[in-house]
């Protein structure tokens, strides 16, 4: 489909790698094992290719080749020829995507802490079971040798976060962790050097190991959610074919296209700039901007926007805005602003730790003071205070939330709902109003033939023949339906696509037209607006047959909306479509509160109005234009049929057609919230029991290790309850 831009257009996106060149391409259409091998085999067949590898998770194709052998365009043309749409990955972006540094660092810290914890535990068990004197001292020394480097390595993620919190005058969960770890390690070292009886190396490494498991789980979930906003700009081409004053053409990167410049856009290409059409008439797919699937006709003088797709005609466009000034760049800014307000949300664990950290430190200080006053001397007072810090280290608390969220994510995954971030689950549990987009969310967003009406016999055969030659969505839907009905296409010749109107050709000596009703038969009333989902067929001078389409509702749409109301959520609809269509859909699914004709900014404003009135909004949408709205909602969901940007901006993505995934996700999120609260309550009870023991000075390393692991196991066990029961959640 994508027409080829000028030669050399893709060279901008390559980078030299010694004698080789490298390019990263985004191929969004990769969906199966067959696609991977088809693309890799196709590219490797080219001369000079050193390596071609598809990363399925990120839908990226990385190619290395010998510089002289071929050009990047040839590779792109090959992949396009296999039927995949290709977009270049900017080299700096590709580098960014390679580095999911945070998760990698956490995983490394986790395995190091795990290694140290298991090995030290072996030594500790023999100490607990009676090793004494020289043996115990030796084992303590070996433990110290393992623990010291491991602790220094594994505590870094916590130390960094604690430090940045302290520098901003805040405290978080990581502050008591770091203080506890540092003091416990220091004291254990002192005990080891002075041949004392108690060293806490096992407890410290185990604590770090458990906490890092929680962090890794959380970070892995978050990684999937990244690279959202950057996707949107990828929809606009990175360069344009500029028409010079002397009539020659020149390929320019988008940075050097200035307003006033004339740009050529081939059929099937996305527009690189905002501008006014100077020459050419055709259909433009504006789904990117409006989210509505029906293409709109454009003629000289009409305004067109960057990122929209010219379907069937070559256009000459006079640039009015390029790059950062385009409408789509505005959309990106809207989304970024909305994302920022969302990141201000404080996760439950952090809210708990705001109270927790000061309380724990106060308790340890009081213990130390108490033991000093009671006259036990510095050593005893400090050891007891440190024991309090170790026993209160938020081990169970650190696992309480991620354990539940990962279990919930697994449960949702089975139900066909992908959760991208643990925080999203917490926000989803809080929503009290659901705002849905219409096209593609409540409805399926693809035209379905509303009965073939008067279309039969030779009319049908002729219509099929023409429809097969067109790329218009209505024509495609018609062709698919007629072919399914067993209609055989008629013999057609001289087929011509008339931009903005339809297709015409000659069947059995008679001219046949398929397309806009008023073009097919000038006697028909011009129905520009409501004609969007109507097409007509006319053979020779006969009567035109009208074919109507409708946008079908998603399965279970009405039931899902009723279910949401049962759970105490209000339901509203925001649509970019016209009022009549919106009203129709709203009544058929039982939504009373709806708004039509919303531009992306209007949707964001409507959402913001509810949020500032104290409501928590769940936004469900699919289009690129819903990106800002999805980012603005307290939580957001998108169907898997949504555009890349819609999916990237949403917190949850549901596979499958049924809208009942939305109430199911809300129900599970609320159940998860209950379990998280139970877990936190359990952690508090554990502390209520263990802290008095620690203050009394009876906590040995053995008791600390048992208490820590048993409370963690308890919390994880409670989280696993989410896997069972709960009916259809």
């Amino acid at each position: 489909m994508t027409a080829q831009p000028a030669p050399g257009a893709f060279d901008v996106w390559t980078r030299a790698d010694g004698p080789l060149r490298h390019i990263d391409l985004h191929v969004p259409g990769i969906s199966c094992a067959g696609c991977i091998s088809k693309i890799e085999r196709g590219v490797r067949a080219l001369p000079g290719i050193v390596g071609a590898r598809v990363n399925f998770t990120t839908r990226r194709l990385a190619v290395d080749w010998e510089d002289a052998a071929l050009s990047a365009d040839r590779i792109v043309a090959t992949v396009t020829g296999l039927g995949f749409e290709v977009r270049p990955f900017a080299p700096e972006e590709a580098a960014k995507a390679d580095d999911h540094g945070r998760t990698q660092e956490l995983i490394r810290a986790m395995v190091v802490a795990g290694f140290a914890a298991t090995n030290i535990m072996l030594l500790s068990i023999s100490i607990w079971s009676g090793a004494a004197a020289a043996t115990r001292d030796l084992f303590h020394a070996i433990s110290a040798a393992i623990a010291l480097p491991a602790v220094i390595y594994a505590v870094r993620p916590f130390a960094r976060s604690a430090w940045s919190a302290l520098r901003h005058g805040r405290t978080n969960m990581d502050v008591p962790i770091c203080i506890g770890v540092a003091l416990a390690t220091g004291m254990s070292l002192y005990e080891t050097l002075t041949r004392g009886a108690h060293a806490y190396f096992d407890g410290v490494t185990m604590l770090l190991f458990f906490l890092l498991i929680g962090r890794v789980l959380d970070s892995v979930m978050r990684d999937r959610a990244r690279a959202g906003v950057a996707q949107l700009l990828k929809q606009t081409p990175r360069g344009a074919l500029a028409l010079m004053a002397d009539g020659s053409t020149e390929w320019r990167p988008i940075d050097s296209v200035a307003p006033g410049m004339r740009v050529l856009v081939a059929a099937g290409e996305r527009l690189p700039v905002d501008g006014i059409v100077e020459a050419g008439t055709g259909l433009v797919d504006r789904a990117l901007v409006t989210g509505e699937s029906a293409p709109e006709p454009v003629a000289p003088g009409d305004r067109v926007l960057a990122g929209t797709l010219s379907l069937d005609a070559a256009l000459t466009v006079k640039t009015t805005a390029a790059g950062e000034a385009t409408f789509i760049a505005d959309l990106v800014r809207l989304m970024e602003a909305a994302e920022q307000s969302k990141s201000a949300y404080v996760r439950l664990a952090d809210r708990v730790s705001r109270l927790y950290a000061p309380a724990v430190h106060l308790l340890a200080a009081l213990t130390c003071a108490g033991w000093l006053i009671a006259g036990f001397g510095w050593h005893a007072a400090l050891t007891t205070a440190i024991a309090v810090l170790i026993i209160t280290c938020p081990c169970a608390l650190g696992l309480a939330v991620p354990a539940v969220q990962v279990t919930a994510a697994g449960r949702l995954m089975k139900r066909g709902i992908l959760l991208k971030d643990g925080g999203a689950l917490e926000r989803l549990a809080e929503v009290d109003i659901v705002m849905l987009d219409k096209t593609g969310t409540i409805t399926r967003g693809r035209p379905v033939l509303d009965g073939i009406g008067g279309l039969a016999g030779d009319d049908a055969a002729a219509a099929l023949a023409l429809a097969q030659r067109s790329t218009h969505p209505l024509a495609r839907a018609l062709a698919a339906e007629l072919a399914a009905l067993g209609v055989a296409a008629a013999e057609v010749r001289d087929v011509r696509e008339v931009p903005g109107c339809g297709v015409e050709g000659i069947v059995d000596g008679a001219a046949v037209r398929l397309g806009r009703p008023d073009w097919v038969d000038p006697a028909m009333p011009r129905v520009r607006d409501s004609g969007r989902l109507v097409t007509a067929v006319r053979r020779g001078g006969g009567d035109a047959a009208l074919v109507r389409f409708r946008d079908e509702l998603r399965p279970n749409a009405a039931a899902a909306i009723a279910d949401l109301r049962d759970q105490g959520c209000d339901v509203a609809m925001l649509s970019g479509d016209r009022a009549e269509v919106a009203a129709d859909v709203a009544t058929s699914v039982g939504i009373r509160d709806w708004q039509a004709g919303c531009a992306p900014a209007a949707k964001v404003a409507a959402i913001a109005a509810r949020q500032s009135a104290g409501r928590r909004v769940l936004v469900v949408g699919d289009g690129l234009n819903d990106g800002p709205a999805l980012a603005a909602g307290h939580a957001s969901m998108a169907p898997a049929s949504a555009s890349d940007v819609g999916q990237a901006a949403a917190d949850l993505v549901f596979l499958g057609d049924g809208l009942d995934a939305v109430p199911a996700a809300v129900r599970l999120a609320r159940r998860a919230r209950r379990l998280v609260r139970q877990n936190i309550a359990m952690a508090v009870v554990y502390n209520a029991v263990a802290v008095p023991l620690a203050i009394a000075g009876v906590v040995t390393p053995l008791i600390a290790a048992v208490a820590m692991s048993s409370s963690s196991v308890l919390v994880i066990g409670n989280a696993l309850r989410l896997r069972i029961g709960g009916g259809r959640a």
């Binding site: 094992a33 991977i36 091998s37 598809v54 399925f56 290694f115």
Partner: protein
């Protein structure tokens, strides 16, 4: 007791070997495309060098 002088270093060496191998798999990006790996197994002539 004599066994310990052999067993403790042995346990540590084996443990470190495991740790090293895991870190190597992590660094060589074997966990980068887990979904893709699951699909590649379906490709019959995938026995070529990447």
């Amino acid at each position: 007791m004599t066994g310990l002088t052999l067993l403790i270093p042995l346990a540590l060496v084996l443990g470190s070997a495991w740790l090293g191998v895991f870190l190597w798999t992590l660094r060589s990006k074997q966990y980068d495309d887990l979904d893709g790996a699951a699909l590649r197994i379906l490709d019959e002539d995938a026995d070529r060098a990447p």
